[in-house]
Amino acid sequence: MITTYREAVRTALREALRRDPRVFLMGEDVGRYGGSYGVSKGLLDEFGPERIRDTPLSESTFVGAGIGAALGGLRPIVEVMTVNFSLLALDQIVNNAATIRHMSGGQFSIPLGIRMATGAGRQLAAQHAHSLEGWYAHIPGIRIVTPATLEDARGMLWTALEDPDPVLIFEHQTLYNMEGPLADTAGAVDIDHAAVRRSGSDVSLITYGGTLGRTLQAADELARDGVDAEVIDLRTLRPLDMATIEASVKKTHRVVIVDEGWRSGSLSAEISARLAESLFYDLDAPIARVCTAEVPIPYPKHLEDAALPQTPAIVNAARSMVGARV
């Protein structure tokens, strides 16, 4: 079956709502409008306004209410329209969702899914183009997942809802229209492991979310030059699946990390630091990072493009590293 990422998320939502009466969806314009990205279109008709809840513009409170509803025994899915607005709810996420289990000595868990669109690439300018999923991954107590494929868009939600702890699901804005085949039997997928999306032996390209496509493209280009790149899709940013990453690096001895976060303090730094700790003597070249330039995202296309990690930069980083081998 050919489907889109948008439809895959919608199917995941529909299935969760059908399967478990404790599941409900709330957020701005998820109901009558059908979701800012059209993801939840039709769900209001099928499940009614008790379970598909349009909220007022009150990010802090409806995210906090999701935490409370999870404490109250439900399995809420909260949609924060985009990561940009989630800053208004950050206190609830960091000070409540991430801490209540711990502060209560394990008495209360918070089985909550928070979905949000993330990323740049649509000329939405500085306040609507943040990529903060890697930044969120700093916080203990929450889990961060970043579906980059149709399978994951379809399958991560259910697993996240079965997780007894809060899971933040970041859907990259530019992926919703991505189209491709998806098995009719597609369903829940694990959210513990990174995936090798392309196997190779010369260099490990590590990425996630919105930049997976460009990274795979870069691998194709590299292949034309005779460079055999392995592409790792992190899938889950917290906790990181270091075993998969390390297995790859032990094979290739070279690493390029591609991360749409601003370079300084992005998740790419953490991965680089960890690899330098665990595989220092396995690395044949300094780890390279291809990240977003340290600038609020500008509106014009040529500047936005220049700010974001693009295929040629990935190719160049890998190529110069492999060149260094010779």
Binding site: R51, T55, S58, G68, L74, P76, R101, G105, G141
Partner: protein
Amino acid sequence: MTDGVASARSALAREHACVLLHEMRRIRRFEEKCAELYSAGKIRGFLHLYIGEEAVAVGAMQGLSHEDAIVSTYREHGHALARGIGASALMAEMFGKREGCSHGRGGSMHVFDAATRFFGGNAIVGGGLPLAVGLALADRITGRPRMTACFFGDGAVAEGEFHESLNLAALWKLPVLFLCENNLYAMGTRIDRAQSQTDLRVKAQSYLVPAETVDGMDVIAVEEATRRIADGVRRGDGPAFIEFRTYRFRAHSMFDPELYRDKEEVERWKGRDPIATLEKRLKEEGLVTDQLIEALDVSVADEMDEAVQFAENGTWEPVEDLLRDVYTRRS
């Protein structure tokens, strides 16, 4: 009314009055102990005493049902005790021992108890209101006939979350009872230096949430209002708001030099001590005797000594368990 009924009623009334008195004295004594133990270095971190405000916790909890959920603040020892969390488990928590009601992880500001549906102690002012809305939403969606009581201070009313939470609760007609403990100060900031409109009822009413002001130094008035209003909330009337006018007799926390208020003001309010007031009234009405009060005192003192002993005897969680309870499943 026959004499028999009248005397049964008065026996009941006496019994209940004694419960109220007892509960308030328990809180008072517990916290006096805490203050001592803080000086002794047994309790650390922030310690916010509730002394002077006991009538609110006790009256309100009496008016609630065991099924209801409670969301509280960092000034929650009174709420916790009045709700039925044992003094020993609470004191062990103050010490950080693993026998504490939050396993020692939370301390004074993070009292949690699943058994009594006590959803914490929250150290972020206003941070509990959205949680209460969500707990109520869960009850609403599942059709359970219970509600959530949410305590917060006058200071919290200025936070954006107050606004968002009252609106959402009212919009969705959720069973939340907002209980504002107006002790006139947020740390050192008097309410008229924090709020353009100091009549907090007006604020609640602007969301079409019914609101009342109650004398928070009068435990019987607190109980009556809470019970009456909570019944409506539980029945599905939508959220409600009660402002309790009260006063904290002690400093904001153990670090507060109290530069911001007059000694006389404090003394004036101490003249309205909710415990002394109730005692006086009960004595005047002949409902209690000095002996009974003395007996109460002794039992409370014993209970709290035991609680301290329990906490002292408690154990420290081993350091190897440091990463416990960050996630439910450990990966």
